[in-house]
């Protein structure tokens, strides 16, 4: 169950305590996140909403080990990541985090297959094993027939599916999705959300998603609002039968 009061139990997959992030800009201290607590359990789908500049992406970056907090700590699957060195954090990301970006961020000179294979090149898997994993991931997102297509030969929705395949190919502990539908039309956005929901429901993936779109957010188990650097309890979204914020 998602909690923001700092009283989550040992069952929490992701645990943030007293999380703060402060930027210095022109001598002025900007407190983007302040004493934020969060507990997310395995298999939960959490959406973060909030106005621009509220710190949604910053929170995602901190949870994904792309940035380090100014205060507090983060524990994921028992690993306290806050004080890891840069290189350790990189290795940790490779094992535990799958990233889905708004702008897809695929490498244009690589095919869908090669893009999805990228995280696996860091493993000790053989070429044959890598191929099996990549084909399975692309099959899971419904792109088995686009394996050898380059990003420019794919639609926006298909590109985002390749990004999702790249995020799940190494079977990470959780997925971080930063506005995954922000650059898509409604139909493509629905398809992507269906895909993410499938990953949560069928494959028990834990997904943390930032979005501006309330319709998209409604598909999550729970929506949390970030306002002035603090996670604010939100009403339980309609249609979500269980879970919620306490």
């Amino acid at each position: 169950m998602v909690r923001v009061d700092g009283h989550g139990g040992p069952a929490s997959l992701i645990q943030a305590r007293g999380l703060g992030k402060t930027y210095s800009r022109g001598g002025e201290q900007i407190h983007v996140l302040q004493a934020l607590n969060l507990d997310v359990e395995q298999g939960e789908f959490v959406a973060f909403m909030g106005p621009s500049g509220s710190g949604k992406t910053t929170l995602l970056n901190l949870l994904g080990g792309l940035d380090v907090p100014s205060a507090g700590n983060i524990t994921v699957a028992g690993d306290e990541i806050t004080h890891m060195s840069r290189s350790k954090l990189t290795q940790w990301r490779a094992r535990h985090v799958g990233f889905v970006f708004q702008m897809y961020n695929l490498i244009p000179v690589l095919t869908a297959f090669q893009n999805v294979e990228l995280p696996l090149l860091l493993t000790s898997l053989s070429k044959t094993e890598r191929s099996k994993h990549v084909e399975a991931a692309l099959g899971m997102v419904g792109l088995s027939d686009r394996i050898h297509h380059y990003p420019r030969q794919l639609s926006g929705g298909q590109e985002q599916r390749v990004t999702i395949a790249r995020a799940i190919v190494s079977d990470p502990t959780f997925l971080l999705c930063d506005e995954p539908t922000g650059d898509l039309d409604r139909k493509a956005a629905d398809e992507i959300m269906e895909l993410i929901l499938r990953l949560v429901k069928e494959y028990k993936k834990t997904v943390l998603m930032v979005t501006h779109d309330p319709v998209v957010a409604q598909r999550a188990d729970i929506t949390l609002h970030l306002e002035k650097g603090v996670l604010v309890e939100a009403d339980k979204p309609q249609g979500v039968a269980a879970g919620g914020v306490r």
Binding site: N61, G64, L66, D67, R86, S87, T90, Q91, R93, A94, R95, F99, F101, M103, N105, I107, P108, V109, L110, Q114, L118, P119, L121, L122, K127, R166
Partner: protein
């Protein structure tokens, strides 16, 4: 190896830029190769000059003669093992552009003093019996398609008239750098047709020492022997003589180093700029690589590898073209008898290529290594 596809895919991202950058390396290394060839052409004589041989010329200038009578006096100096003499002929074969060095030689001692110039004994014996006989180096024979038995007419310059020679033999140098362009004929044949005022004179002596250690002492002794005479001498080691000859063309080494330095510095700026742009364009992609688990060190090596691959392809192409250029032989038709790309220059060129490749990729690579993922993604 599993990352090679990633490196190659990135190289071909901007094909024209890739080809132009490779072209920059190729042109620079081709020029380096040609400069190395020119350097060898001018310095090879110095490199292969005998350490145990001295050259004795007229103190005024090499074009001033020395008396033949000096031969026996030089031979008596302790440390002198043998001696031979030559005259420059300077004739023209068919056309003045067909330059090759022609020497009237002392047939009795030539092979003793220059054992590195080899030819079959039967050819040499034929030459000794033939007053109009001639021996030519393999390179010149090949150049004019001469073969043993050919009749070769040469127009005299300082001794006018047409000189007919029978080609009795073709010599080869033992070492790669030995001069195979010379044309030898009997000194007596020249002596017969010289005007009286020039008779009994030789162009220079080559002295063989019993030990290279004696070169300084014997040089001084020879010059002392003829000091205050109408024909004072200047004696030097064959190496110093060859070096002095090259110096007449200017400081070739300095010229080559200067041109090479400017070319490589320009190449460094051009490729450094290209790599910087290439990395800048891919900031987001490199950030994504880091996000999915690629280390800072990997990104550094990844960018460096791209730079090195470009350098190796371009450099290899340039050195290959330089090699092809030398296969056609001396383009000056005889002025540069040693015209080849030495293996040492290829090795130096290869390492220079790697150094420039690494240096041009280093700053962008360090920038990519230090780049923070969140900052890079925020730039989009």
């Amino acid at each position: 190896m599993k990352f090679s596809g990633l490196i190659l895919a990135n190289l071909f991202r901007k094909k024209i830029r890739f080809l132009l950058t490779i072209g920059s390396f190729a042109v620079a290394l081709f020029l380096f190769g040609v400069l190395a060839v020119v350097k060898v052409a001018f310095s090879q004589g110095i490199d292969v000059a005998g350490a145990d041989r001295l050259v004795v010329i007229n103190r005024v200038s090499i074009i001033q003669p020395l008396p033949l009578a000096y031969r026996d006096r030089i031979l008596r100096i302790p440390g002198v093992q043998g001696i031979t003499f030559d005259n420059w002929f300077g004739g023209v074969y068919q056309d003045e552009r067909n330059f090759f060095p022609q020497f009237a030689i002392d047939v009795e001692n030539q092979r003793k003093i220059f054992p590195e110039m080899e030819l079959p004994d039967d050819q040499w014996q034929t030459f000794l019996k033939d007053r109009q006989g001639a021996i030519v180096g393999a390179s010149t024979a090949e150049r004019f398609h001469w073969k043993v038995g050919d009749r070769i007419p040469i127009r005299g310059t300082f001794i006018p008239g047409t000189w007919e020679f029978n080609l009795d033999g073709i010599y080869h140098g033992k070492r790669r750098g030995d001069d195979e362009t010379q044309f030898w004929f009997q000194w007596n044949y020249l002596e017969e047709r010289k005007p009286d005022r020039l008779k009994g004179q030789v162009g220079w002596y080559t002295v063989k020492l019993d030990s290279p250690d004696n070169s300084l002492r014997v040089s001084k002794a020879i010059d002392a022997e003829f000091s205050n005479s109408p024909y004072e001498t200047h004696t030097d080691t064959e190496k110093a003589f060859a070096a002095g000859w090259v110096k007449q063309f200017g400081n070739i080494q300095f010229l080559i180093m200067s041109i090479g330095g400017v070319v490589f510095f320009t190449l460094l700026l051009v490729t450094g700029n290209t790599m910087a742009i290439a990395v800048r364009e891919r900031t987001t992609e490199l950030a994504v690589l880091k996000a999915v688990g690629y280390s800072d060190r990997f990104v550094l090596l990844f960018v460096l590898a791209e730079s090195l691959v470009i350098a190796v392809i371009g450099g290899g192409l340039g050195l290959g073209l330089a090699k092809l250029f030398t296969l056609g032989g001396d383009p000056t038709r005889g002025l540069l008898p040693f015209f080849y790309l030495p293996g040492q220059a290829v090795i130096v060129g290869f390492f220079l290529t790697l150094a420039i490749g690494a240096a041009s990729g280093l700053l962008p690579a360090i920038g990519a290594m230090r780049m923070r993922v969140v900052d890079a993604l925020r730039r989009v």
